[in-house]
């Protein structure tokens, strides 16, 4: 068990996948020689050679389309889109091709590809470099979506995503790259679709994912000081998401708070809330409350971005509303 940075866990998962499966290849803008804009692919070119780790021009649509074609032809491509905001340029390949090929060709092929996409604010990168768009992908049958919050999960989910026979959108949080966490050696794979109880509790279920996990854990500690024992669930996978785990938690606490950095309206939390307002209705003792970004583009200025990203204070306020 050693402390590892989130970004290093990603690199390790890529290296281990490249080493263990000769079908795995990596490509994207500046991922090879430069080692990736966020250093996530550092050293991999040197280790695995230019056939398997390659730089591409700035051609997002063709890159992702090529990943689909390569996956249909038996490789397991892992492509990087530098900022999740740029997936806007590759939506056809993801949504009309990758997601549908298996189904619409009658199961003749699958599309075992992974798209890595950093999302999230916190570095004042402004409106076109900070968005959290995972809800789009979770809405598309045929795609899977995961979003790790810790180094161990970053490793375990990436390896699972690469092993998966179907296309997986692997969402990383830019602000987490430098954070550290325990990573067991060897680090186990994390099955897609399985949530984790990050903090057990009895009074309220706080369901979250990605970077917000840490904010939620902080809020839970504050709540503990107020005598409230919060359970914090880290979804880890968003499509499929672990409905059973959320329902089980709700059945223990009877109160539900959903937290994510993505815009609240029409975000991932809406689906969880909607399911629980149906399947979990009898368990609910209070309104389901969500905390997400406000309905505005991600602003640049420090003072604005700081208020944009959901804070511990906002989570506490929301929790108190659920507990009232």
């Amino acid at each position: 068990m050693a402390e590892t940075r989130y970004v290093k866990a990603i690199t390790a998962a890529l290296a281990d996948s490249l080493a263990s499966d000769s079908r795995v290849i990596l490509f994207g803008e500046d991922v090879a020689r430069p080692g990736g804009p966020f250093n996530a692919t550092k050293g991999l070119l040197e280790q695995f050679g230019p056939d398997r780790v390659r730089d591409t021009p700035i051609s997002e649509a063709a890159i992702v389309g090529a990943a689909v074609g390569a996956a249909m032809s038996g490789l397991k491509p892992v492509v990087e889109i530098m900022f999740m905001d740029f997936t806007t340029l590759a939506m056809d390949a993801l949504v009309n091709q990758a997601a549908k090929a298996r189904f619409m060709f009658g199961g003749q092929c699958s599309v075992p590809m992974v798209l890595r996409a950093p999302h999230g604010a916190g570095v004042n990168a402004g409106p076109q470099h900070s968005q959290c768009l995972e809800a789009w992908f979770a809405h598309i049958p045929g795609l899977k979506v995961v979003c790790p919050a810790t180094p161990a999960d970053a490793y375990g989910l990436l390896r699972s995503a690469i092993d998966d026979p179907d296309p997986v959108i692997y969402v990383e949080h830019k602000a987490l790259y430098g954070t550290k966490g325990e990573m067991p050696e060897p680090c186990p794979l994390v099955p897609i679709g399985q949530a984790r109880i990050a903090r057990a509790g009895t009074d309220i279920s706080i369901v979250t994912y990605g970077a917000m996990l840490h904010t939620c854990l902080g809020a839970a500690e504050k709540l503990a000081a107020e005598g409230v024992d919060a359970e914090v669930i880290d979804l880890r996978s968003l499509q499929p998401w672990d409905e059973a785990a959320v329902l089980a938690s709700l059945s223990r606490t009877h109160r539900l708070l959903l937290v994510h950095e993505a815009v609240e309206a029409f975000g991932v939390g809406a689906e969880i809330a909607a399911r629980m307002a149906d399947a979990g209705f009898d368990e609910l003792d209070a309104p389901i409350v969500r905390v997400g970004a406000p309905f505005m583009p991600v602003p640049f200025a420090k003072s604005l971005e700081a208020q944009y990203v959901p804070s511990e204070a906002r989570i506490l306020e929301a929790a108190r509303r659920v507990l009232a």
Partner: protein, 372 residues
């Protein structure tokens, strides 16, 4: 219906290796980049095809024609759901290009892909079953005309998105290159697709990476209801030249010309390096069945039968001393196959909803065919 051992395909000097799952030599660093790109013209070849090769091509064209004529009738009778785009009059492109490919080579196709499918060897019955929306269809009835695919014969799919097949072909060619397979991918696209930026990106990537990729523009002059002359100010020739990709233009209604040019291009591409082939043809039917084509000149339409590739090939065959009786027999054989396929199509069962729903993702029990 296809005879891989004869015709221009047999002229290819190098047989493709067997496909493998992973990269053959994970430690190897460099793809095969020995073959020189050359932007010059068609390789030296006999200007005419041997009789047997031409006969193969004729038979393929006839199969496509009759299949589509039958589809047209079935569509009019309400036996086909959705909409269908026919390639009647353009069969020489599909036949000529696909005969230049080896069985292990693959293609990516378009919304107007029936000819490509049949010429690449998709099973005729499974093809009709699919388009008629039946469970036994090649795609289980889930895709229909616009999504016919058959991984077993290297048909990576028709595509409902104009231009999208280009990048799938690019990725497939990358897989072949990395596995050192010497397999080629042909990407069909229409003249209308030339306006899509994806073409530009794929030309660039194919050139940079020297991929075994053949860009085949099936230029029928129309993009839906608009002539391409009002849609595209550039040219494939100019683009190919800009990216250093050898370019050939042929009369797309002369099946021999298509086959010879495609064979030459495929041979170079197999050595490593993209090639472009533009086949000039004409769209005979409407954009889709049911389109009355009011926007078209009577004169233009009247010209089309005169350049029909099928009578042209028949005349050549007669000159090569193939008897009228032999052609007649062949025609009847094709018709019998088609009728059998239609009959089979009608007998097909309706797809089951739960079965489809359970097949959105791979289940441990479902084993997809090996990738192509």
């Amino acid at each position: 219906m296809k005879a891989p051992a004869s015709g221009p395909k047999a002229m290819a000097t190098m047989a493709a290796e067997e496909p493998s799952e992973g990269l053959r030599k994970p430690a190897a660093r460099k793809p095969n980049r020995t073959a020189k790109s050359n932007t010059s013209s068609v390789a030296k070849r006999p200007a005419e095809l041997p009789k047997d090769a031409l006969l193969d091509l004729y038979q393929t064209m006839l199969l496509v024609r009759r299949a589509e004529q039958r589809l047209s009738a079935l569509f009019a009778d309400g036996e086909i759901p959705g909409f269908i785009h026919l390639s009647i009059g353009q069969e020489a492109v599909a036949a000529g290009v696909c005969q230049a490919l080896a069985a292990q080579d693959s293609i990516a196709s378009t919304h107007r892909g029936h000819g490509h499918s049949l010429a690449k060897g998709v099973d005729l019955e499974a093809f009709f079953l699919e388009i008629m929306g039946k469970r036994e269809g090649i795609c289980g009835g889930r895709g229909g005309s616009m999504h016919v695919a058959d991984m077993a014969v290297g048909m990576l799919g028709a595509n409902g998105i104009v231009g999208a097949g280009l990048s799938l072909a690019l990725g497939s060619a990358l897989a072949h290159q990395l596995r050192r397979e010497r397999r080629v991918v042909a990407a069909f696209f229409g003249d209308g697709a030339m306006a899509e930026g994806l073409l530009h990106e794929c030309l660039n990537l194919a050139a940079l990476w020297k991929l075994p990729l053949l860009f085949v523009c099936e230029n029928n002059g129309w993009s839906e209801f608009s002539p391409t002359s009002r849609q595209f100010a550039g040219s494939l020739e100019g683009l190919a030249k800009t990216f250093g990709i050898p370019y050939r233009r042929v009369d797309g209604n002369d099946v021999e010309a298509v086959a010879l040019a495609a064979t030459a291009a495929v041979e170079v591409a197999r050595g490593g390096g993209p090639q472009a082939l533009e086949c000039m043809t004409g769209r005979v039917r409407g954009h889709f069945e049911g389109d009355p084509q009011r926007y078209r000149d009577a004169e233009e339409l009247a010209q089309l039968p005169k350049i029909d590739p099928i009578p042209r090939a028949a005349a050549r065959l007669r000159a090569l001393k193939v008897s009228a009786a032999a052609l007649q027999e062949l025609s009847e054989k094709v018709d019998r196959r088609i009728e059998a396929a239609v009959a089979r199509g009608r007998q097909g069962t309706l797809p089951d909803f739960q079965e489809a729903l359970a097949d959105v993702y791979t289940r441990p029990s479902t084993s997809p065919r090996a990738g192509v």
